[in-house]
């Protein structure tokens, strides 16, 4: 083991200790990661495997709307879609969650009552995270209060990039406490962390600080989830699990629009970290348009013919 064995959630006396622990992580060679990802992208999923993978991907979706123009009506139709993605085919798996801003959590909660679909809320001054801690915690508190099962927080990338790792750690811990049992997804915003070494370090920092999930992106910056980042994060959760016994989930968010993209991530999981993560309790896609593409492919598998996009609701 490269990092000395620790308790499930190690405590660090100070930032120096935390930094030291992060420095013990082995580096990441971006070229090697890219090479590996490119090789796995050639995997060919056919027939029954493809059908199973499509259903798995559908069940992993956090159906998301995060716009300034969101309304209770929009949330209502999204929740309906999450519960029954394809009304013509009741065997279609429901989404894992609906993800909204905190002020719409109550609406989502109401529309999802009695279903398996969870309510997720972004919080902590999403997407920039640029607000005082007290405001971020109030944001989280409000979402939990309104019935959110899952909180998607953002880390302070500015603090991370300027080396104030202790501050990032403490914020996650504080938010975790404020979640009061709601699952915490920590958004690293990997597009702003830029390097894969940063992605790996931020993943471990978040896991040590109490993340139940680590999540790539807000979807609000130019670079979102990529397979290379996905692989590095998956390897981090695998190693963390081996070291601590805790299973942390991974959520890929932003820019995943096609079945082909989604299936590549499932292959990454299948062949790099172990099939344990092939389950919505440990892997999610934060997406909206992905669902319809999966539904189109699913229907094609079933009917043997390609179908037009309008067959499915535009939500």
């Amino acid at each position: 083991m490269r990092v000395p064995s620790v308790e499930r959630r190690p405590s660090f006396a100070d930032e120096v200790q935390l930094r030291r622990a992060l420095d013990h992580l082995s580096g990441v060679d971006a070229v090697g990661v890219t090479h590996r990802v490119a090789k796995l992208a050639t995997r060919s999923l056919k027939t029954s495997t493809k059908s199973r993978a499509i259903d798995l991907a559908l069940s992993m979706i956090d159906l998301t709307t995060l716009e300034g123009s969101d309304t209770p009506g929009r949330v209502a139709s999204l929740c309906a879609k999450a519960r029954r993605p394809d009304p013509e085919d009741p065997t279609t798996p429901a989404a894992a969650a609906v993800c909204v801003y905190p002020d719409l959590v109550a609406d989502a909660r109401r529309h999802l009552e009695g279903s398996s679909v969870a309510v997720a809320s972004v919080a902590t001054a999403f997407p920039s995270g640029r607000a005082p801690l007290s405001v971020k915690l109030a944001d989280v508190g409000a979402a939990v209060e309104a019935g959110a099962d899952e909180i998607d927080m953002v880390i302070d990338r500015g603090a991370f990039l300027s080396g104030r790792l202790g501050q990032v750690f403490d914020e996650i811990e504080a938010v975790k406490a404020e979640c009061r049992g709601a699952h915490l997804k920590v958004i690293l915003e990997t597009g702003e962390l830029v390097t894969l070494d940063n992605v790996k370090r931020a993943s471990w920092l978040a896991m040590w600080a109490g993340a139940d999930f680590i999540k790539t992106s807000t979807g609000k910056v130019s670079v979102n989830a990529t397979p290379t980042v996905g692989l590095v994060m998956l390897e981090a959760v695998r190693d963390f699990a081996e070291e601590t016994g805790s299973l942390v989930g991974v959520k890929m968010a932003g820019g995943i629009r096609t079945t082909k993209d989604a299936l590549r991530y499932l292959v990454l999981i299948n062949e790099t970290v172990g099939s344990r993560w092939l389950s919505p309790d440990l892997f999610r896609f934060g997406a909206s348009s992905l669902m319809n593409d999966l539904l189109m492919q699913r229907t094609k598998q079933r009917l043997g013919a390609y179908v037009r996009p309008e067959r499915f609701s535009g939500d």
Binding site: D29, A30, V31, G32, T34, T195, L196, D197
Partner: protein, 281 residues
């Protein structure tokens, strides 16, 4: 008044910077062009070959790792020392070949000029024969020529001093160390030039010189697994057999062809190593 009696010189082997008699204790007579006695030269044995190869191997890594600039300085220093002994060297050439003074000086001058030419090569080889390669991927890829290691060089049998410089200086300037066998008939000028390495800061073992009978040494040299390169310039009737023997350890060989570019010998004793390194973050 009687003529002054000459002080006669004993010619030895040069191994690891030391001037040694053959371990076998044997010598042979070297004659001038008309058969007169010139000197006794050491007649190297197979064990001397072994010692010389050990010396060359021992010196190779540090000779290669010394900067190309320093290797150039040392070879140039050797040329400087030769220049100051130009007439002595010419005298040996003249007596060996029975030629005129001017003709002998011509060979010596050519030899020294060639040495200077090689001195200038040391820090050009990597640039001329190496370089960066534009591979289709995120890698920095570069090729560097490296010495093949220990080169055994058979000097031209005619005793040409310039020919002698070619067979030893070409591998040396590329970072090889050398075990050279001088012309059996005309070893004295070659020995005198090799002697000067002692005052030119050529590290011990970098150049080793054997004199003797190639018939005795050829097989041992060619089959020695720790000899990486073989210059068969002066191997004459043994050239083909030596080339065959050396195949057992995939030894690089050089056999001159008429009209060879002088870099051909040099290129025969370098190998290209190509390094790939990922570029990314």
């Amino acid at each position: 008044m009687s003529e002054r009696l000459d002080v006669m010189k004993t010619y030895k082997l040069l191994i690891k910077g030391q001037f040694l008699r053959s371990e076998s204790g044997r010598t042979y007579e070297v004659s001038d062009a008309v058969g007169g006695f010139l000197a006794n030269a050491a007649r190297a044995s197979r064990k001397d070959v072994r010692e010389a190869v050990v010396a060359a191997r021992g010196a190779q890594a540090s000779w290669w790792e010394s900067s190309a600039y320093l290797k150039g300085q040392i070879l140039y220093r050797w040329a400087e020392m030769a220049e100051s002994r130009r007439r002595d060297l010419a005298d040996l050439v003249q007596r060996a070949w029975g030629i005129g003074e001017d003709e002998a000086l011509e060979d010596v001058n050519a030899a020294i000029d060639r040495l200077v030419w090689y001195a200038g090569w040391t820090d050009k080889i990597a640039q001329v024969y190496g370089g960066a390669n534009p591979v289709a991927g995120p890698y920095f890829n570069f090729s560097v020529p490296r010495p093949c290691g220990v080169v055994a060089a058979i000097a031209p049998s005619n005793g040409s001093l310039q020919g002698w410089v070619d067979v030893v200086a070409a591998p040396l300037c590329a970072g090889n160390t050398v075990v050279a066998v001088a012309s059996h008939e005309h070893p004295l000028a070659a020995f005198a030039l090799a002697e000067l390495t002692a005052t030119a800061d050529v590290p011990p073992g970098v150049l080793n010189l054997l004199t003797g009978d190639l018939a005795e040494l050829a097989e041992t040299l060619a089959r020695h697994e720790d000899v990486d390169g073989l210059d068969l310039t002066g191997a004459g009737e043994f050239a083909t057999a030596m080339a065959e023997w050396s195949a057992d350890s995939i030894t690089r060989t050089y056999r001159p062809h008429p009209g060879d570019d002088p870099t051909r010998r040099l290129r025969s004793f370098i190998e290209t190593t190509t390094v790939w390194h990922t570029m990314g973050y």
